[in-house]
Point group: C2
Chain length 425, copies 2
């Protein structure tokens, strides 16, 4: 057994991730020591809820007093896995000011109040690491910060919410409609009792804000992200998409357009041969495009205590092995880019609308689209009588023009429902 450098850890929170971090360190301690020369020890755990404290916990390991961690000079790294944006902010703020390096898995906090914390970390010359905050076990933060240095990144597509990807995967397999599968997902623990943040897109939006900030070196907060969720996706839409050779996914899209940043989250149709189309179940994936690197994708478990804990542990080791103040210690946002207006972004679309079963319908709609400069890629008229439906896809057009055309179709007598529209990646 090698002699290692002892790194004492103060762990804030003993929920799913916290307890997994603790157990993973116990289990892999010897391997980590042999492989990295770092001897990880969890010295103190802050946990308020008595129900979470194991009955066989070592004496003195648990505390309800934050001061026991932050005032302990032997503790090198504070791991924040409590979640939320208020107490967690204060804990990290005080820890950094007390000279501790911090590792967190808190995406909401970083996406909403990250700038203040990164600035503080820089001023205090301490690390603030957050690999586990986005896409669980996938080391996307490390890869973007340390390997995409000269990649010329301009696009980041992400499937970064496991709950919605699980629901959409099962809908694609035609195992039920949205509401049914959401209910099952809740029963199986794949969806929260209150699934709003997941199915509404806010969770994915927070993660995309973090990824975009790193990719484009300019701060993006949750409030800069335009997002929508999957609540209105019906089995019928998924089936139509499948017939046309597409898969429906909740996609985060961060792009650098004409020197400005655009970050959005929306349900979209992906061609089945797109690498992101094959990401199934609760997996996550991030697909990067850059002028120098081409296309690169990482996929893996987006959640789960143990996989997420592996990301926390590699952050701790990285902090322990980077004693010198390097670029990883400061915020990567060294410039302030503007935001590209959402309505000017170019997107391809899928449209489904119930129409009157009569001659001339196609011509009327095609003429409205043509007048707005929206070019139609594919058009199918299906069913007869009351069942008559028009399904079409467009070539990429400015969204402003596309939605102007859609507004006009709403006035047509031959359109019997409001058109259902989805972006095509």
């Amino acid at each position: 057994m090698v002699e290692g450098r002892v790194v004492q850890i103060g762990l804030l929170g003993f929920g799913t991730i916290g307890s997994s971090v603790y157990r993973l360190i116990q289990k892999e301690r010897d391997q980590i020591l042999e492989g990295t020369g770092v001897d990880l020890r969890v010295k103190k755990v802050l946990e308020i809820a008595p129900s979470r404290i194991p009955t066989d916990a070592p004496t003195g390991l648990f505390t309800t007093d934050f001061a026991e961690i932050v005032d302990d000079p032997s503790i090198d790294v504070v791991v924040e896995v409590i979640g939320g944006t208020d107490a967690a902010f204060d804990f990290i703020d005080v820890a950094l000011r007390s000279g501790k390096n911090v590792v967190t898995a808190n995406k909401q906090l970083l996406a909403s109040r990250g700038e203040a914390l990164f600035t503080l970390a820089k001023d205090e010359r301490r690390h603030l690491r957050f690999e586990a905050a986005v896409a669980g076990a996938i080391p996307i933060i490390k890869v973007m910060r340390e390997s995409m240095i000269a990649a010329g990144l301009h696009t980041v597509y992400g499937i970064v919410n496991g709950t919605t990807n699980y629901i959409l995967t099962r809908m694609h397999q035609e195992e039920g409609d949205y509401a049914e599968i959401l209910l099952e997902a809740q029963e199986l623990g794949y969806a929260e009792a209150d699934p709003t943040a997941d199915v509404g897109g806010a969770d994915a939006a927070a993660k995309m804000a973090i990824l975009a900030s790193i990719a484009f070196h300019s701060r993006v907060t949750l409030s800069n992200v335009v997002y929508a969720g999957i609540e209105s996706i019906t089995l019928d839409v998924v089936r139509h998409a499948k017939e046309l050779g597409f898969v429906v996914k909740l996609v985060g899209a961060a792009r650098l357009i004409e020197g400005k940043v655009s970050v959005r989250v929306f349900p979209a149709l992906l061609p089945t041969n797109h690498p992101l189309a094959s990401i199934s179940g609760s997996n996550n994936a991030v697909f990067l495009e850059g002028t120098d690197i081409g296309e690169i994708m990482l996929m893996g478990p987006g959640a789960g205590g143990v996989p997420t804990a592996t990301a926390v542990v590699s952050d701790i080791v990285s902090v322990a092995n980077t004693k010198d103040v390097g670029f990883l210690q400061s915020c990567s946002c060294y410039r302030r880019l503007g935001f590209y207006a959402a309505e000017e972004v170019e997107s391809a679309f899928f449209i489904k609308v119930s129409v009157a079963d009569e001659a001339g319908v196609l011509a009327q709609i095609a003429s409205i689209f043509g007048a707005q400069g929206v070019s139609i890629a594919n058009m199918i008229q299906e069913g007869r009588g009351d069942e008559a439906e028009l399904v079409l896809t467009t070539h990429p057009t400015k969204e402003r023009q596309f939605f102007a055309a859609i507004e006009q179709t709403k006035g047509l007598a031959c359109c019997r429902t409001e058109p259902m529209t989805l972006r095509v990646l």
Copy 2:
């Protein structure tokens, strides 16, 4: 513009990768400086071939004398992109002994003579980095060394040869037989004039030796890898596989079995829903499995000057930012594991054999397999008369038992050809 730490580079070789490294640094220098605080400058380039030296090269940049690089105290990092295993070994050896950090893209060298160089680098307290040696732009070395610290890795599957993946992808799209597509690939520059190392599996074997060494922390050299290539894969086999829902890929498989290492490269059938099945064209991918991390995959360009250069540049920055001797500076092989006997590995198989069109054939073959303990998963008899063929897949069995069964079938009067066998992942 920030003031950065100047890092002077000596570049050995100005071929495809070397010239791309040079141009990428020229193009991205300001971005790299802003993002990382490192100011990269190529001080000298060693290139023997006058035809490779651009006519507009700055005066004094190129040299044919290695001493001008290795004896220049201002040069911090030597980048070796010459290739080959003889001169390159000596260059790296002397550079390390002269106090230079080294970045290389040389897989053959590391897979065959890596141990001596890693040991030297450790003794000299210098870095020897090699991200670009495996899977081009995909940062698999960084991810495995720095993020899979507590992942419990036990399996590494890789599509790590772009040429064979390009050929097999086109065969899967039924665009021609092996020989035709290889010829086209050579004309397009996707395959070498002498394609032996690629199509025969040796290139993939060298890369898998490197990946296995890192994954399992035990040295694997090229001579420890059992490998085969794709020369015998016919369009007919690819079609049969496709009918059964499989894609044929050249797969590297490194596994930890009962504490021993098994590393092999072979053409295999992958179910179309396996993440590696979707890796098309000249792309590479590495799929990792670990008890703690679950399943994780990285995909991207496996070759090409500029993508590979991005990997070289991130290695240089990483070296420049890790002044202190950390675990990344030493060889990651801290233990010596034995090798698992190839014939004891369990694999599932696909078998195709021409048979007599008569009653009892299935029964005879099934009985031989049953006696050897090989369980049949799927069996199809196709065609009539002279065209009669049996196509079957097995459940995983020890390869020793499987091949014993195959030997016995060769003695059967009803088998009119030697059985064609392929592993199923």
